[in-house]
Symmetry: C2
Subunit: 454 residues, 2 copies
Amino acid sequence: MATRSTIMDTNSFRPEMMGALDPETRSLVEKRDVLGPAYRLFYKNPVHLVRGDGARLWDADGVEYLDVYNNVASVGHCHPRVVDAITRQVSLLNTHTRYLHENVLRYAEDILSTMPGEIDRVMFQCTGSEANDLAVRVAQCHTGGEGIVVTHEAYHGNSALISELSPALGTAQPLSRSMRMVPTPDTFRVEVDGAAAAGLSAEAFGGWMASCLRDAVADMERHGIRFAGFLGDSIFSSDGVFPDPRGYLGPVIEAVHDLGGVYIADEVQPGFTRTGDAFWGFQRQGIVPDIVTSGKPMANGMPTSMMAARHEVLESFAGSIPYFNTFGGNPVCMAAAQAVLDVMRDEDTMGNAKRVGGAFRGQLAGMQPDHPVIGDVRGTGLYIGCEIVRPGTKDPDQGLALALLDELRENHVLTSVCGPLGNVLKLRPPLVFSLADVDWFMSAFERSLSSLGV
Amino acid sequence: MATRSTIMDTNSFRPEMMGALDPETRSLVEKRDVLGPAYRLFYKNPVHLVRGDGARLWDADGVEYLDVYNNVASVGHCHPRVVDAITRQVSLLNTHTRYLHENVLRYAEDILSTMPGEIDRVMFQCTGSEANDLAVRVAQCHTGGEGIVVTHEAYHGNSALISELSPALGTAQPLSRSMRMVPTPDTFRVEVDGAAAAGLSAEAFGGWMASCLRDAVADMERHGIRFAGFLGDSIFSSDGVFPDPRGYLGPVIEAVHDLGGVYIADEVQPGFTRTGDAFWGFQRQGIVPDIVTSGKPMANGMPTSMMAARHEVLESFAGSIPYFNTFGGNPVCMAAAQAVLDVMRDEDTMGNAKRVGGAFRGQLAGMQPDHPVIGDVRGTGLYIGCEIVRPGTKDPDQGLALALLDELRENHVLTSVCGPLGNVLKLRPPLVFSLADVDWFMSAFERSLSSLGV
């Protein structure tokens, strides 16, 4: 599995595709030179979006798309309550946390009320990367260690520190010398003592992962590096979406604590009701983290993130090293985040994720007999991974997965891929996704598969 | 000058001040426990703000304050054109740069048009810390070096990488082993070959600073660390505000280039017309950086930042290492940033900064004969440093400076301090500050000085 360059360019427009673009799209794409070579557009035929509403997006020609990808617009694009909250606060005051303001206090209390009582402090930043960067520093300060363990295809952010802990960025990005990796908990492919992981109990599968972690930490310590913690999201989204068997992280976190480390739960992907089982991904695994981070889904697109922690874990860092984030926790971001949280409760996004996500997975699984390229359908709530493979095997078919993405885009459905070889469709729509939206997706998916002859 | 703990707590509320607070303020302050010990409030008697307009702020009791501190609300609190731009875009669409959108392209072109032609690429992030974190990685990738030079009291941000390059954070924060510091270009105190710096030409003062940089790089290389670049804002704001003699950075940047490094201009403080002399701080120094970063003043409080660079400097990083910032360059942040830029042109904030800032410095300097605690008044445009010293000496009087801040706050004027010993009043109001606002400040300043008997 070492042939990919990076996960980041699995679904990307490339300059050699320029010739096929219509003049208006081409002109916009050409103008992006000014952003430099790091910027990537989705699709062979990039989409020029101008409007959003719920799980729908519209391009400049008025074409309507179904959004099956964007978790930032967690309560739906342009949710009126979020728009109102931003509009109201931005007209009143937008300043920082060195003056008193109710918004940050109200939200801090409210978001902590969704977590176990042990997690009793929260700090605000602007991006998930900033939250993870701070979380790792807090973990290192608390434990006196440096070494962090992540999974083999983890992506946790773009700062210097976090990029070195994000193997999914590819081989051009050097990894930290003090980090170690454990294998992806790939229930579709891993065998434990000759038994397929898919059939194992949470204890047995978690026990295997815990022993991988113990090995990683032993190697780290053999190199003189003290263990600080394990950084992982509880559904391993960039690894390819592996939420089950539910509870398998229990033995892993037990091992982390045994070894003197802390567990940083990166909830950017599974948090905020998306799994349908609980508000937080770690809750459906039955574990209590030491540090919790989030970002993307918090404020429906306003740059807002957070790092919550047990006070005794936070103390050593926050009591000695100054940290001020100018925009973090500002009244406008907090108003947006509060509106998102209110909407999640009032519209029961957790119940919707469970109900609609369950139906979605059921319909996808129902297609497997007729479409053997669908190797596996897994997920929880509105976070679904769908493996595209060579029929009759577990061999990833990235080429077909990418062709499917482009077909789906032509059928006005937006999504993307994940996993080490970019062959896993990542179906992660706004949480207001409905059963009718599932029907739209399924019919576009059928058309796309059949136009590709699979 | 090693007695301070950190610059971050020079103007901070501390728990032992709790007893003096009114019940409402006390209750809000107590609730902040949930944010942990890293959060700091300004003032012995923290301010509870609820509304802003231009350079004015109002607290919960309706008391009006003059804002002489906040550069985030660069075109004034709640500027109607910025509010409108945010409101309009947030109701339409807020997504990311993997789809096409005009806002990011229009703003990218427009902001680059304010810079020298050599700087022809720009990438967007959410905070100044993220911009500097990326800039240092770009500089390291381009030069193949690791070593960064900063000034002795520099503050460039809060990520793991940038905290290690920010000596102003104090001694609890370890500095990077590969960084070196040059002295603060303190024109009030430094002597060069026995001559006071204040009287020196830009060439002579810059030559001294360049030789300090050469020494720092020689020491770095003696330790086997290759030089990557110099990171500095061109008015050295956290060092205590040292913009003159105008042009003194010329010899310094020449040395940086000679030694194979790049110059990263951190424009978070001097950029966006604040100096009154030019749009960017580096322009008034007559230099062309290799990389330019900004954040705070870009979008009037929307979390928005950028890293601009020469394409040949960016290439090595951006051509090989994936970088995606989910919220960076989103349509709402770009709409806000565009509105700020439009307002800066239409309302001539540069001309206003020059005119009002000049009058402001003139009036402050005029007070020196009667108030010998004012040791030095310096600055450019609406960035002014005012040294509070023991009369007849250049010894910093931090205690008096902090007392003055609290007096000014009681006189409804908000500002803060900077410099290694926290004795320099940092006067940095929104750019719409008027001559009438200067009068308000001067009269509150007189009252504050006289109530302290100085």
